[in-house]
């Protein structure tokens, strides 16, 4: 991620921001999909994240953390959408797996994602993703999710245990 692009985006450059955001767009969409379970809501969450990030990027103190910051913003958007009772459509038969994947990988990914989306609650998903995907510390997760440290550890243990039982960790 180019520091110069971040700088230009922070100065209000919409084009620079779009360029910057395009580098994380796929990742954001995928995380949103895990929470919201359907394409339209996931796209809404990405749009809201772009809106929030663009408005606040000048406040981002450490530019090297743009990616993590964007993901944290996205997760908050998703949680807000879920809390506000926005319609959540369960995973259907739509082709959510990239066509390039092999049949075996495609099947495995579907099962893994199904477990991740349907067997874990929002808090478990958040802790799991923040820890395993973004390498955040327990205290960072605790602060981010406004949960006691002990609760974060318990949630991670519970989520990990559940996935281990399904042989996915």
């Amino acid at each position: 991620m180019k520091n110069d692009t971040i700088k230009r985006a922070a100065e209000g450059g919409g084009k620079a921001f779009a360029e910057l955001f395009s580098e994380v767009q796929s990742e954001l969409y995928r995380v949103a999909f895990i929470y919201l379970k359907n394409r339209d809501d996931a796209l809404d969450a990405v749009q809201e994240t772009a809106y929030r990030c663009f408005k606040n990027i000048s406040k981002l103190k450490n530019r090297e953390y743009f990616r993590t910051w964007a993901v944290r913003t996205l997760i908050n958007c998703c949680l807000n959408m879920i809390r506000s009772g926005k319609r959540i459509v369960p995973l259907d038969d739509a082709p959510v797996i990239s066509e390039g994947a092999s049949c075996e990988n495609s099947a495995l990914a579907s099962v893994t994602l199904g477990i991740l989306m349907d067997k874990l609650d929002e808090r478990e998903k958040s802790v799991l993703l923040m820890k395993h995907l973004y390498g955040m510390s327990f205290s960072e997760i605790s602060k981010e999710l406004k949960l006691p440290l002990g609760t974060v550890k318990t949630l991670l243990y519970r989520a990990t245990d559940r996935l281990k039982k399904e042989n996915f960790l």
Binding site: F17, Y29, A50, Y51, I97, L113
Partner: protein, 304 residues
């Protein structure tokens, strides 16, 4: 399969960039949203300062905004928000609820995440020595937070050392919902909004305000100024009324003119000399019997 690998196989729709651009466009549009300006209605020789300063949205306020200053010189603005169907969302670095350091870009969302209200803040103070009203943009530092008990607070640290003792400090909570207001034009109220006119006594419109047709103000059955002050041509205060005083009939003699407050309306009669009417609050009665108070700054200069 590892979670990371499985997630990497989720197909990303082609049109995602369009959504991102929409988000950026919304943010840019927010930045360019018109702010209230001083309105000069030259033809009627009237000046309205501050524009409309109303609070209206889908969020109902069970109390009028409360403003007060504590002993340390900190100004607090508390808004009681009580709505079963709404949540209050504040923009901050993480995009969620919590503190924020810029007041210029916060908003209140309804339960569906739709923006229902955007605020900007100014404070003004009335210099009783010369009757002038000073309007100053607030510094862009402060904290907005929800206390978890249904209240949202805006907390501003500011310097009041340059304001002499005894000067009244008023906060204006301003929404830019009414629409674009340009110099030399009256408030452009949309269809469905409520417009209120105040006659200067000679058939001229002295003051016009518009309220959005939104709850809780869609149900207004009557409205009256609940706090106003009058000054003569030299800026000398001639009368100051607190809440409740305007319910009856009051006359302020300005020499060449008279101001009469009667049954909630204000009339100015006579053509000799000039004067200034400063209204700091209106009280509106709602259909359900409750009342809300609308705080702001309305300044009308009258006379030849």
């Amino acid at each position: 399969m590892r979670i990371k690998d499985a997630m990497g196989l989720i197909k990303v729709p082609d049109g995602i960039m369009t959504d991102i651009e929409k988000g950026i466009y919304r943010a840019v549009k927010d930045e360019r949203r018109p702010q209230f300006k001083v309105i000069a209605a030259a033809a009627a020789a009237l000046v309205l300062i501050g524009g409309a300063a109303f609070i209206f949205s889908d969020i109902s306020f069970n109390k009028a905004p409360v403003t007060y200053t504590n002993d340390d010189g900190y100004v607090f603005l508390g808004i009681d928000v009580e709505n079963k169907n709404a949540v209050v969302g504040m923009k901050n670095e993480s995009g969620g609820l919590g503190n924020m350091t810029e007041l210029s870009d916060y908003r209140i969302e309804d339960a569906g995440g739709t923006e229902v209200m955007t605020f900007m803040f100014q404070y003004s103070w009335l210099d009783e020595a010369d009757g002038s009203v000073h309007v100053v943009d607030l510094p862009t530092s402060g904290t907005l937070y929800a206390d978890g008990g249904g209240k949202t607070h805006y907390e501003l640290e500011t310097d009041f050392e340059n304001i002499a003792e005894g000067i009244e400090v008023q906060f204006s909570l301003k929404s830019n919902y009414v629409g674009s207001v340009e110099d030399g034009t009256a408030i452009d109220a949309d269809d469905g909004d409520i417009s209120l006119s105040f006659d200067d006594g000679g058939g001229r419109e002295a003051l016009r305000i518009a309220l959005s047709d939104k709850k809780p103000f869609s149900d207004i059955v009557s409205i009256r100024p609940s706090c106003f002050r009058v000054f003569d041509e030299a800026g000398k205060p001639l009368g100051a009324y607190a809440e409740g005083d305007t319910a009856g009939e009051t006359t302020v003699d300005g020499g060449g003119w008279k101001l009469v407050s009667k049954e909630g309306n204000i009339y100015i009669d006579g053509s000799g000399g000039k004067g200034t009417l400063y209204i700091c609050a209106f009280r509106a009665a709602l259909g359900d019997g409750s009342e809300v108070e609308i705080h702001g700054d309305w300044l009308v200069e009258f006379g030849e």
